[in-house]
């Protein structure tokens, strides 16, 4: 689907999601309550057919008291890409898993859990994936402190 047409279709399908066409990829910001339903529709609806999760990460916003989960999705059938963003509460970040829709997201979500501490609800195997099992803390949070980290001398 063309970018403008995709933006219009998204705005029509998800009235409570904010569509942002300014970035490199088309982007929708979804409230946490509607997140799971939006992802199911994006995966199953043949008009969107977003069958390939290119990437998934998160962003820590200490000032906004939020951790934003960012999903890059791609459609092999249509050749369009979409970024889905969903805010979680920084004090107790919980987001529904999408690893049952896109199997590749299982390890992405483990990585985000490992580095940001986002608990993905109903994830089948939510363990640390990169760091050691006994690691304390979530290193990509902006307030992470660790005796191993050498600060810059300048």
């Amino acid at each position: 689907m063309e970018r403008a047409a995709l933006a219009a279709a998204l705005a029509g399908a998800f009235p409570d999601a904010a569509v942002d066409p300014a970035g490199q990829h088309l982007e929708i910001r979804v409230p946490r309550a509607a997140f799971r339903g939006v992802m199911e529709r994006l995966h199953a609806d043949p008009a969107f057919a977003l069958d390939y999760p290119m990437s998934m990460t998160a962003v820590d916003w200490p000032d906004l008291k939020a951790i934003t989960c960012v999903y890059h999705l791609y459609s092999m059938a249509h050749g369009h890409a979409l970024v889905v963003k969903c805010d979680a509460d920084r004090a107790d970040p919980r987001v529904p898993t999408v690893s049952d829709l896109w199997l590749g997201c299982e390890w992405f979500e483990r990585e985000v859990f490992d580095l940001f501490g986002v608990a993905f609800e109903d994830h089948p195997d939510l363990r640390r994936i990169m760091l050691t099992d006994d690691w304390v803390g979530y290193p990509l949070r902006k307030d992470y402190k660790d005796s191993r980290i050498a600060g810059k001398p300048y």
């Binding site: 990169m130 760091l131 050691t132 290193p139 992470y144 600060g151 810059k152």
Partner: protein, 195 residues
């Protein structure tokens, strides 16, 4: 403590006329054979491994220095070239590989990451600041990554270091200590002979 066969032999030879001269030449033979047949462990952690591979290929040809037989198991290797970034999670595995290598064994720290953490030194939670925190390092090769010439120069430096070793020194000292202890244990023994 019972002496090993090598220690007994070193003691017998050292006590014989001209034995020290013979032992020094035997040690030189040991050193020569060890220095010129280093078997590196096939072991790369990041981009330095590419230069390590290039050093083994025909253009640079590490075989000229006897170090081309990269073994796929630490049991057959006597040189560990730590080629790349050692993370906190990798460190215990590196140590295990080192422990599995038979003596005598040597370590070359290749590149800035293995030597001191390199570009990952500051503001980093996951990279070990130097592989010398987990294994003893013989030669540090600087560079990011070092060129194959630099690695080969590191191997030549290690060869020079090996040629200065005294592999039988421990056996000779143990044999002498055992002989002195036996002499002291005998009643009415003569005063201890000079070294």
């Amino acid at each position: 403590m019972a002496l090993s066969p090598v220690q007994q032999a070193a003691g017998v030879v050292a006590a014989a006329p001209g034995g020290q001269f013979v032992l020094l030449n035997v040690e030189a033979l040991f050193n020569w054979s060890r220095a010129n047949s280093l078997f590196p462990l096939t072991f790369g952690l990041s981009c330095c491994a590419i230069e390590f591979m290039a050093a083994g290929m025909s253009r640079h040809d590490m075989a000229r220095f006897g170090a081309e037989v990269a073994r796929a198991t630490p049991r057959q290797a006597d040189l560990m070239i730590v080629a790349g970034t050692v993370t906190e999670k990798m460190a215990p595995i590196v140590r295990t590989l080192y422990d599995q290598m038979p003596d005598p064994k040597y370590v070359i720290s290749m590149g800035a990451c293995a030597t001191a953490g390199g570009p990952f030194y500051f503001d980093n939670y996951s990279v070990l600041k130097g592989v010398d925190q987990v294994v003893p390092v013989d030669v540090y090769v600087p560079g990011c990554p070092p060129r194959p010439e630099a690695l080969i120069y590191g191997i030549m430096k290690l060869q020079q270091k090996i040629m200065r070793e005294h592999p039988l020194l421990g056996a000779r000292l143990a044999a002498r200590a055992a002989a002195e202890a036996a002499a002291a244990a005998q009643p009415g023994a003569a005063p201890k002979a000079g070294a």
